[in-house]
Structure formats: C-alpha cells, structure tokens
C-alpha cells in the first residue's frame, strides 16, 4: 500500500489528472535542449576519478539515450582516497588501482589521452594526440594540480623536488616512491611532513598520513621521528589527531603549527641536501621528506578560463560553470562552498550533475540537488574517526546542513565501527565510480 505516498499535493494531482485523462505522461515537460535535432546528445567528461567516473556510470546506466565519452590520461586509476593506508601496510597499491573496463561495459566511450584545450564557443575538446571531440555538454572533473612555486627550491613537475621529496598527493608512482624511501630509511631517521596551505584536496589527509607513517615507524623503525611543519594554525579534526599522535605514537610525532608569531610555511627546500627551512627559521635535515605543495584546479580549466584564481566558480544548484555555458565542474576543481575537496564530495556532485543533464537532455524528472560528504581518517589499526555533513544549495551557495564529527576519547569499538564504515564506503565509491567490486579489503 502506498501509505506515506499520499499528501495533499498528491491528492490534488490525482484529481487534476482524473480531469485530464487524455494527458499523456511527461507531455507537460516541454523541453528544447540546445542540441542538434535528431542527434543523440553527447556528454563529454574530462577526468576519470571519483567525480567523472560516477557521472559516466550514472548517465550510461540511467539514460542510455545519452552518449558519454570519458577522456582520461591514464588507463588505470589509483585512488588517492585510502592511499595513506599503504604507508602502514594496511592496503596494497594494487587494491587501490582500478581500470575503466567496468565503465566501458555500460557503454562509456573511453579516450585514453590528455585533454589539452577546451573551446567553449565551438564546443569541442582538443587532446594531446591531436584529437578533437565535440560535445553538447562538457563536464570537467580534472582534480588538482600543484603550485610548485609555493615551495621555493622544490622545482617543477617531474623535477628533483618531486623525486627527492615526493608529495604523494596524486596516488600511484609518487605514493610508491615515498614508501620506498621510508623503507630504505635507517632506524632513527627523521621524516618531515609538510601539509599545504588551504584549500587543498582531502583536508584531513596529511594528518591521517602522519598516523599511518608513524604506525609504520612504530612497528619497524621505532627510534625514528616524524616532524610535521604546517603553514596553517589549525587543521581538520585537530583534537582527534593530536590525541591519536599522543596515544598511539608517543615520542614519534612532533607537530609544529604556525602561530601568530611563528610562520611554519616552508621558506625553501634543498632536494639535494634534504634541508628544509621554515619562514619562522626552523631548519630540519630530513632523511625522508613528504612535501605537499599548495594546489589549484587541474590545468585544463585555464584553457577555457573556467577558473577564478586557483579554482572554478559554479552554480550551487547544478555545478554548471559560471564562466561558460554548457560546461560543468565537478570535484576538487570546483569552488563548492562549504563542501571539502574529497572523493565523496565529487561523487555526490556528479549525482546532481547527472540528474540535471538527464532532465535537460533526455526529459527525465529533475529533483533538487542534495549533497553529502563524510571523510573518514584512520588513526591506527582498525581505528578510524570521521567528519561529515549534508549539504544543500542555499542562496547560491553550497552550505552544510547538518554536521557530525567523531568525539575525542571514543572507545575502541566505536573507532572500529567507523573503520568498518569507511571500508564499506570505499567499496561503494569504487562500485559507483568504476563499476567494479572490491573484495572486502
């Protein structure tokens, strides 16, 4: 029975429908999508991560009458989310690596190439190998690129800095490089971790990483130290992390936050001597350094001037670019109000964009956007904490509706429950973004 499904509005609808029995379903939604008549609408997505992958999957599953092309530079995607667990040995990189076969199987056309330019007026994307892909709607989900200049002495992409002091903030080769360096380090060595200035992808990420590296040191190189030098005065889930550093890793983790007097931003690094100096004058010689530069939207957004400064402004209801029509920005690259830059956010935004595009291009029902994010962080073995919120578009901005954060001093069972949740979430997002099932890792 349809108990809850009747409201006054339904009732009114039923009566009016009865009075207009000849009205065919759906005919009231007059639509004139801006596409060639007779042609199948074509949605092109740049970037096959949590945002782009989810969108491709959802569009193909939900609306087979829309053609979807996904442009992605790499044939395999190693998720940045959960990659900190590789440092503690709780995950292998293989378990975090997914291909695009699952998306292809639902009819997504994959183009393994790097998008190099967007022509927003003629509506096509150029690729590195000379391809030219026309679109009706374009969704740009490129993730982040680094502002290497934020770390004087670090060098450019692929340079000495990236090799000697890996950021490991795009998962894959960089993650492995950092781990190899940790493994090669002597017991009693000094590891330096330098988180970036806000805003950056995965706000609790650097601190979860500190826990996971400390976990490795504790088990394997207990005389070693992990020193955090942070340009910020505070950080995400700070109390929870500070408590974890003290309780799980006493004597290993040392935190230097900036204060109104001391600025712990990096003044310069020397990748040859492994020396690091902060503005406040703190000098450290590192055995292993994880230096994470400041970030901005993936470079591709600049070719169509979708950015304002480092990131891309969007319409909070649709995640449509405010700078160009028929272009949408999903994930880390967007200015998503109070939503953090995270895989869950990107996944959630992709659902809203999918719904909007299906309504616009295929005459499907449209529902108000609803966003969600939760970030879980692992503190120690089978022990995680979380911060989360629901979000909604309000007065043109994405605002948090209801927030939750784990408490300090939670018992082991609660932490274990949060860990299991995060594991479930990982399986879920891989299913959604790549149409793949992970074993319960």
């Amino acid at each position: 029975m349809t108990k809850r499904l009747f409201s006054r509005r339904d009732f009114a609808k039923l009566i009016s429908a009865a009075g207009a029995a000849t009205l065919s379903p759906g005919s009231s939604r007059a639509q004139a999508p801006n596409i060639n008549r007779g042609a199948r609408p074509h949605v092109v997505i740049i970037g096959g991560g949590a945002g782009g992958g989810t969108l491709a999957h959802l569009l193909r599953r939900g609306t087979p009458e829309i053609d979807v092309t996904l442009i992605e530079a790499q044939k395999q995607y190693t998720s940045c989310f959960f990659s900190n667990l590789y440092f503690s040995g709780f995950r292998t990189l293989e378990s975090l690596t997914h291909d695009y076969g699952g998306l292809e199987s639902v009819g997504t056309k994959m183009i393994y190439d790097r998008a190099t330019a967007i022509d927003a007026s003629k509506k096509f994307v150029s690729t590195q190998s000379g391809g030219r892909i026309s679109y009706d709607r374009l969704v740009v989900s490129p993730g982040i690129d680094f502002k290497y200049e934020s770390i004087p002495g670090y060098g450019e992409a692929g340079g000495l800095g990236e090799q000697a002091m890996p950021h490991a903030y795009k998962a894959g080769a960089q993650t492995k490089l950092l781990m190899d360096q940790l493994v090669a380090m002597r017991d009693g060595g000094v590891v330096v971790l330098a988180p970036p200035q806000n805003p950056y992808r995965c706000p609790p990420g650097p601190y979860e990483r500190a826990c996971m590296i400390a976990n490795y040191l504790k088990d394997n190189k207990p005389k070693s130290k992990l020193i955090i030098v942070d340009p910020k005065r505070n950080f995400s889930k700070q109390q929870l992390f500070m408590q974890a550093f003290a309780n799980y890793y006493p004597g290993i983790v040392e935190v230097h936050l900036s204060t109104e007097i001391d600025d712990q931003s990096i003044k310069r690094v020397d990748p040859k001597t492994m020396e690091i100096e902060t503005v406040a004058g703190k000098k450290i010689k590192a055995d292993v350094a994880n230096i994470i530069p400041a970030q901005r939207a993936g470079t591709i957004v600049r070719s169509a001037m979708l950015n304002e400064g480092d990131w891309c402004p969007i319409n909070a209801e649709t995640f449509g670019s405010t700078k160009a029509s028929d272009i949408f920005i999903v994930g880390d690259a967007s200015i998503a109000g109070e939503m953090p830059k995270s895989a869950f956010s990107a996944n959630s935004q992709a659902k809203a964009v999918s719904n909007f595009l299906e309504a616009e291009l295929a005459d499907k029902p449209r529902y108000p956007a609803r966003y969600r994010n939760t970030c879980w962080s692992m503190l120690g073995p089978e022990a995680s904490v979380k911060i989360g919120a629901s979000y909604a578009a309000k007065d043109g901005k994405v605002v948090a509706v209801n927030t939750f954060v784990s408490k300090t001093d939670e018992d082991d069972r609660t932490r274990e429950k949060s860990f299991k949740e995060s594991r479930g979430w990982y399986a879920g997002i891989v299913a959604e973004a790549f149409n793949r099932r992970v074993q319960n890792i």
């Binding site: 029975m1 499904l5 009732f11 009865a18 939900g62 029902p365 609803r370 949740e421 879920g428």
Partner: protein, 235 residues
C-alpha cells in the same frame, strides 16, 4: 488482510519505537516522533483519501507516473544494489521485495551494527521507514555502510512507488509461476525489469497488500523480456 489504516498505524509506530530505542541524534528522533504523532492524528483523513485516490487514479495512472519517474531515479541505487535476488558478488542487498522486509535481514551480508540492531528491534522497511531513511541515510542511521547523500522528498516518493510496484509485480509473477507449474505447457515466465520502460507494464494500483497478487492484474502479461540486472561485469 490488514486494513490500510492498521497498516499505516503499525508502520509509523515501528518508526517511533525505533527512534526511541536506538541511538540517533535528538533532532532526528524528535522529527520522527513529531511527524509520527501528526500523522497519527491524520490517519482517518488519510484513509479516506486513499479510498478516493484508488477510485480516481485507477484510470489515469498518476502513481504509475511516480513509479515511472522512480524507475529512473532508482538507477542511482542500482550502482550498488540489484533487484535480482539470485545476483552474486553483490555489494549491497538486493532490493526486490524490500517493502515489508525487516532491516538487515539478508543472510550473508555484512550489515553495519546499527542496521542489524534496527532489524532486531523490529524495524521493517515499510514505505514510511524508507521515506525517512532515504532522506539522509547517515543521519537517520548513523553508522550505516550506505554512504549516500539521500533523496529529495518527491524523488523518495517516486523511488518508493517504483519499489512497491516492483515488489508487487514480482509477487504476482511468482504466484503466476507457481500456478503454471501445475500446467507445465504454459509460456515462459517473465520478470519485470529495471531496464524496461514501465509504460509496457501493468500500472501499479493503490492497494494495501503489496505482496498479494492483484486479481485485476492476474490476467495480464507484461511485455518486458526476461532481463536480469547487469552485474556480470562485477565478477
């Protein structure tokens, strides 16, 4: 058979009971209880509406439109769930016959603790319960493994209408199958499919026993071919 009114009262009493016995945020609990009480007062009115609605909507299929919309909105769920009870390597429990099923009841699934607790305390997935849960799953049931942003009100109605339709159709076809097993020469049995437009299938009717085969529909056959939800790629 239970009367619609009794169904209705039981449904939201279960919600109220659940909201008192489980650890949920105060706001959510209050929300549940308040709305439960409000609706308690409106039960008779609603029952009257239902009678009218059944009479009025039957020929026009307005709820069928909800179900049709819901069939589309449900695609979001299909990224993790399936409708096929025999599906293997599932990430999430199959959703056919979810209406009326106790929470956390599929064997072999690793449910979250709160889901198992809710099930053991009597939470049943009535349309009402689903309506609350799907609003913001992580807020309704903190600790659920279902990491999902939730659905807006109309979207929830549509999805639930579709699930009810699907459950009812499945039950009808099963009943048909059982009947035809006595007469083996009967044509191939068919299942309603998430892939097929609802327009080709009998319209859902507003009646209170989703699992009871409808006599008015028993004579019809659906034109949807057998089509299992596609999860072969996930193995």
């Amino acid at each position: 058979m239970q009367s619609g009114t009794r169904c209705f009262v039981m449904a939201h009493e279960k919600i109220a009971e659940r909201s008192q016995s489980l650890s949920v945020p105060d706001g959510v609990r209050l929300h549940c209880v308040m709305r439960g009480a409000l609706r308690r007062a409106r039960v008779l009115l609603v029952a009257a509406w239902v009678v009218f609605a059944v009479i009025l909507a039957a020929p026009t299929g307005s709820l069928a439109q909800d179900a049709r919309n819901g069939q589309h909105a449900f695609k979001k769920c299909l990224l993790c769930h399936v409708l096929d009870p025999a599906g293997k390597d599932l990430l999430a429990p199959p959703l056919n016959n979810i209406i009326g099923r106790p929470a956390g009841a599929i064997r072999g699934f690793e449910y979250s603790e709160i889901m198992k607790t809710a099930g053991s305390k009597g939470l049943v997935w009535t349309p009402d319960a689903l309506f609350y849960f799907l609003d913001r799953p992580e807020e309704f049931m903190p600790g659920t493994y279902m990491a999902f942003p939730g659905l807006e009100e109309q979207e929830r109605r549509d999805v639930i209408a579709y699930l009810e339709f699907y459950s009812r159709e499945t039950a009808r076809l099963e009943a048909q199958k059982a009947a035809s097993s006595a007469a083996p020469s009967k044509a191939t049995q068919k299942q309603p499919s998430a892939q097929q437009p609802l327009a080709q299938q009998p319209q859902p009717q507003k009646q209170q026993a989703p699992v009871r085969p409808s006599t008015s529909q028993a004579g019809r056959t659906t034109t949807a071919p057998i089509q299992q939800p596609n999860n072969t790629n996930n193995r």
